[in-house]
Symmetry: none
Subunit: 224 residues, 4 copies
DNA sequence: TATGAATGAGAGTTCATTCAT
DNA sequence: AATGAATGAACTCTCATTCAT
């Protein structure tokens, strides 16, 4: 049983690690950086996390946990609304999450990449072997599909309650909507370091709203 | 004046580098890997490219060059069609390009990140300093905005010839369309290592076509 | 605050570095050599000194410190004697120092060279840039002129108390005397590896004494 | 038999090598530097000199040759003067030579060091083994003692003709005088990069003259 | 628990030297 | 004779990891 103190320390390390990993990437991050960030010694970090990869996976795991907590809360808060509203809110939440947790998007994508590589027994990535060996890697498996499932079930609900008139396969709708959010996040993040509110002279806020308007329209399938 | 032989060798190296960088990333790639891939010694690679960062930027430069060659060709081949068709074809070309040149997408995005970091004098990325110092980095500056300009001019043409009824700012339309393509590429690539033709039980070909259908619809702005 | 243990280790490394640098020169010395000399690993040396140049400058700094400590002690011990005696003793001390600290002379001269190159913004010496960037390089600046100042003030004292009848400019006397000591050290060191007590069939001890006799005579200026 | 053309090329290389070796030292000099300096390729240099060490020794050899040519000329031109004058002129020539051939002094000293190391079978200097293996190294042996012998014979002549009243062992006188010249050269060279005409506010020309005045006085032995 | 030290396996880069043309 | 290429050993420096205290 982990003590309160231990959990607190672990979270402190995870915070720092998340910050730095997402800023400069896994390989560019030194354990020393993480330790210094919280006034700790390198050795101590190893007391809590057995390896760099393990720490990285722990960060990813925590991020998944939090994301899913949010998905569930979001889903719960819209259970009285129609399916379409629920879906849009879920993506809105997702986008907010990425915006507020810099680099979270990268963690998620990287995990997906690793998971895929495992299924395919792709031995290309020697480095990531250690990641897949991490206990956290396996713990994430129990979570990773939840966001998908939650969104898809809301899509189905929407198709049933008539708010989503688009009758394409729910997975296709999910992918289309997610691609839009992912693309927005990716392009936005490429120019994110500063907090500039415009990209190419377009107000980010406007672009963002338009993204959701398009998503909404897709679900409406007005054109079909 | 570079000899034919030299250019051929450089391209051979660039090919190998592109392959490996895109497979396992910049940091994970060893110069030795690249050299061995083409049966060369480490030292020889340095005869052609002064540093790892320089080589990386050279790869990026070549990718930009090729991309733009394609954009121009694509644009030329649709000059008799209406603007909307031209725009869709450009994105279709872009997506094909990313699909066929594994990792190209990452190169492009990474460059944008570096360029942005430079404008903001963001010293976070110590590693990338050497990249920005590369002569290729500066050569790319003359190219990087061409794709944007080409697409935007076609959008404008489409708005003028009536094929693009959506009267939003061309930049906003560009971003929306590009986000869709970028998102598709990103998600697709996360599960690309093998040549599986389905993601989440959805046929990739179908998803792909649907992406263009949605893009087309956005330009039509049927719902507006 | 540096621990006792740390300081001891640093000095152990400095000892080894001084030994090897002076034996085979800066460029010929490998960090590995220094580490092995004291049964340490390469990496550990880097724990204490951030670079080879930094280590070299640290060695130089320590040498300066010790030299000056000696100058001061020597000067203090002759404060009741006349100026000429004080001057001769200072040079005698200097020569002893060079004799006992093999290669010290080279360190001192190299530093002077670097310092000069800096003032002249001479970019010839690419290698030494890192040396000038060392924190130790700047620390030495506060010390480097002390020997000169001490000797010159004793020369002035000697001219005032009548023991140094030579009325030439104190700096000229300093240079003339120092040249003699420097020349002796240089020639002697060229054939120093062994402890042979003769050079060209001349007893080194005799030559040495004669050097001081000549110096003494210059200060007396008997011939003027 | 070496062709004219070959000898010319060799000398061109030797010129460049002498310049660069003396500026930045043996280890810091790259064969490429030397080749580029005269618009030649690295490979070509190897056609004329089998190794870097061999080239270095060739430079040294040529320097010795020239020095000795000068010694002989100088000696011949003073054969009608008394011994003391001849000695002073020889040292004056030596000093001029060092002043005009930057780095020559280092070459000479380095050779002495190598020669000494050989006699003592000192295996410290692994690098220099190749130098001692050079054919030029052995050729120098036939020359190296000539300057000493010439000076010493003039000293003896001076002692006999009464111009050198100092009756100390000629070798001791030689060492004392040479030390003075060597010290002057060393200190002067430390601050030589620019052509400043003062050191420590002392006019170099004045210091130089004073050096010879002192030397002259030593030979006179006025004080004895 | 925590930390300062120590380690050692690389990784990027340099450069003397060789070789094919 | 000359050169552009190619090589590989050597070297500096990094950093994840371990360990003694």
């Amino acid at each position: 049983m982990k003590s309160m103190r231990r959990i607190a320390k672990e979270n402190q390390i995870l915070d720092a690690a998340e910050r730095i990993f997402s800023e400069i990437g896994f390989r560019n991050t030194r354990m020393e950086d993480i330790a210094r960030e919280i006034g700790m010694s390198k050795g101590s970090v190893y007391f809590y996390f057995e390896s760099k990869e393990n720490l990285y996976m722990a960060v990813t795991y925590r991020a998944f946990e939090e994301l899913i907590r949010g998905y569930k809360a979001c889903s719960a808060s819209t259970k009285d609304e129609n399916g379409k509203t629920a879906v849009v809110e879920l993506f809105r939440y997702h986008l907010d999450f990425c915006e507020n947790q810099p680099g979270y998007y990268a963690l998620l994508m990287n995990y997906m990449s690793l998971a895929r590589a495992e299924e395919e027994k792709n031995a290309d990535m020697a480095l990531s072997e250690a990641m897949r060996d991490s206990t956290y890697f396996r713990k994430i498996r129990n979570l990773r599909d939840l966001p998908l499932e939650i969104v898809v079930s809301e899509i189905v609900r929407g198709q049933e309650d008539g708010s989503i008139r688009n009758k394409k396969h729910p997975h296709l709708l999910y992918l289309s909507a997610w691609a839009q959010v992912a693309g927005f996040t990716e392009i936005r993040s490429t120019s994110r370091k500063n907090r500039k509110s415009t990209v190419l002279n377009v107000s980010v806020a406007e672009w963002r709203e338009y993204t959701f308007e398009l998503m909404s329209r897709v679900l409406d399938d007005l054109a079909a």
